[in-house]
């Protein structure tokens, strides 16, 4: 299971994440972003790509299985 948060002060609606991981990130209107704060482990690769591709580096992801809670 993945936990994620997007710094929406930073987000400028480039929508790279919504292309790369459409089951987790979705544009809402022209530049608003909605995301699932807890994504399935099966999305790991796509979410990692989305976080890496974000032009303003606004996405923080944690692989919760590996954490101390």
């Amino acid at each position: 299971m993945l936990r994620l948060v997007v710094d929406l002060n930073r987000c400028q609606g480039y929508a790279q994440c919504a292309f790369l991981a459409p089951d987790v990130f979705a544009m809402h209107g022209d530049e608003g972003l909605l995301y699932d704060p807890q994504a399935e482990a099966a999305q790991r690769e796509r979410v990692a790509q989305a976080a890496a591709a974000c032009p303003v580096q606004a996405i923080l992801v944690e692989d919760a299985e590996a954490s101390d809670a």
Binding site: L8, C11, S67
Partner: protein, 463 residues
């Protein structure tokens, strides 16, 4: 050479964080990142590990995510001892101990207070306890409200058209639910963005089918025989039949537990210096108690050194990082919290963002785009300089305006050739309501210069 106090703090000191939400978590991570190896205790009144609140009024109400699934991702392991589900109930500054509601006491060498705010409840307690009446601040609030919206109520009444109330109304309409919004002021969002922008927000509500009632107060909530809310009575005599009511009247700071402690804490928050160190009521800054997040109020050099209270996600993160850094630094190594206020809201399909302190603005000028198209940028002016900016679906310009604010650029702005639209080009009054007539609270509040102010004071700067 003997070990310095700072070195011993870093290697085996005790740091206690009261408030286990965004600010508390980011501070804890920063402490570990900066090499703090002592014991770290996280105290939180809610039984959950730190979670993110913004999704509660957006994804969660739209049914796209569960309130239970909002736990914040960690930047790193923090190896903390968690005391969750037990609120702090007192502070012994001389004895350096936090008292907990279960009678326990936790000693500290450094304390960070990040107890945040809570939703202002409906003033009539019996009415507020009717089934179907909600506030929205916590994970539990979000889960309860989402469940009730899922069940398909006949009509939702939102009391207060600030950001939270407007986002809830937007989510209801997106789900096809009938919604009435009752706002004391003349338009939504006026407390935060003024009447010019508020008028645009009002149009957005109505275009999306919200039954928006402005200039009214809800005087009474009425329940049926089973204790379920069935109607609301408004000050203009109207009666709104509704089976869900969401009270969105702003927030109250969680400072009651500090009463009598000697800290400069009151309804406006806890006063701290620009380095996040808490003031005592003596006006003397403490060495070992720090404050971060929604509960803090601290002086900002860009805004006249008035104490600013900021209920902003980004402020919580930035102030927590600064507080943690300063907790582990000597006086020469400390740095000020000079984050420029910024926030966002998503409603009716429009991305609203702001930087600076719009509420200080006496005038606003639309500099780009067009309010009629719901895509524009506006700047707020105060004493001949740019003090704040707002964008509707124009977020990529916000950094530009932030630099203008940081540079105290002149207002009206001189970049007249950026965009030319009929609505723009000249400043008009920003039209903030008289702050002595409180409506939903703005999320940026100027609260004077006194670190020991225990009263709730409003300072009408205009009108």
């Amino acid at each position: 050479m003997p070990e310095s106090e700072l070195e011993s703090l870093k290697s085996r000191g005790r740091i206690v964080v009261v408030g286990a939400s965004l600010a508390g978590l980011r501070a804890a991570e920063t402490l570990r990142e900066k090499g703090f190896k002592g014991t770290l205790t996280m105290i939180g009144d809610e039984p959950y590990e730190p979670y993110d609140r913004p999704p509660l009024s957006k994804q969660v109400l739209l049914g796209m995510a569960r309130a239970e699934d909002t736990a914040l991702p960690r930047r790193r392991d923090i190896e903390a001892e968690w005391r969750l589900g037990v609120p702090a109930s007192g502070l012994d500054m001389a004895g350096r101990r936090v008292k907990l509601a279960d009678g326990d006491e936790v000693p500290y060498d450094r304390l960070l207070i990040a107890t945040g705010v809570r939703a202002r409840p409906w003033p009539n307690e019996a009415e507020g306890e009717l089934d179907g009446v909600f506030v929205l601040r916590t994970r539990a609030d979000g889960a309860g409200l989402a469940r009730r919206l899922e069940a398909g109520p006949r009509r939702v009444l939102v009391i207060g058209a600030g950001f939270t109330g407007s986002e809830i109304a937007s989510a209801c309409r997106e789900r096809g639910l009938e919604v009435t919004v009752a706002e004391r002021a003349d338009a939504p969002l006026v407390g935060a963005l003024g009447g010019v922008v508020g008028a645009v927000a009002a149009e957005m509500h109505r275009e999306h089918g919200v039954d928006l009632r402005t200039g009214v107060m809800v005087t009474r909530l009425e329940g049926d025989a089973g204790g379920r809310v069935r109607a609301a009575h408004l000050s203009d005599g109207a009666v709104v039949e509704c089976d869900v009511v969401v009270v969105c009247l702003g927030a109250q700071r969680n400072t009651e537990w500090l009463a009598g402690s000697g800290l400069g804490a009151g309804p406006r928050g806890i006063a701290c210096d620009a380095g996040c160190r808490a003031f005592g009521i003596t006006g003397i800054v403490t060495d070992d108690i720090y404050v971060a997040g929604d509960v803090a109020r601290s002086p900002h050099p860009l805004f006249g050194y008035q104490f600013l209270s900021l209920e902003h996600w980004g402020n919580a993160v930035s102030q927590a990082e600064t507080a943690a850094h300063n907790m582990l630094s000597d006086s020469a190594g400390r740095r000020p919290h000079i984050w420029v206020p910024a926030f966002w809201s998503s409603q009716f399909g429009v991305n609203i963002k702001s930087v600076g302190v719009p509420t200080m603005g006496t005038e606003i000028m639309i500099t780009q785009g067009s309010p009629a198209e719901r895509r524009f940028a506006g700047v707020y002016g105060y004493q001949g300089r740019i003090i704040g900016a707002v964008t509707f679906d124009n977020a990529r310009w916000l950094d530009f305006y932030q630099r203008q604010i940081e540079a105290t650029a002149p207002f009206p702005p001189e970049f007249s050739n950026v965009d030319r639209r009929p609505e723009g080009g000249r400043p008009v009054p920003a039209d903030f309501p008289d702050p002595s007539v409180p409506t939903h609270g703005p999320t940026v509040t100027l609260s004077g210069y006194s670190p020991a102010d225990r009263r709730m004071t409003f300072t009408p700067a205009r009108n």
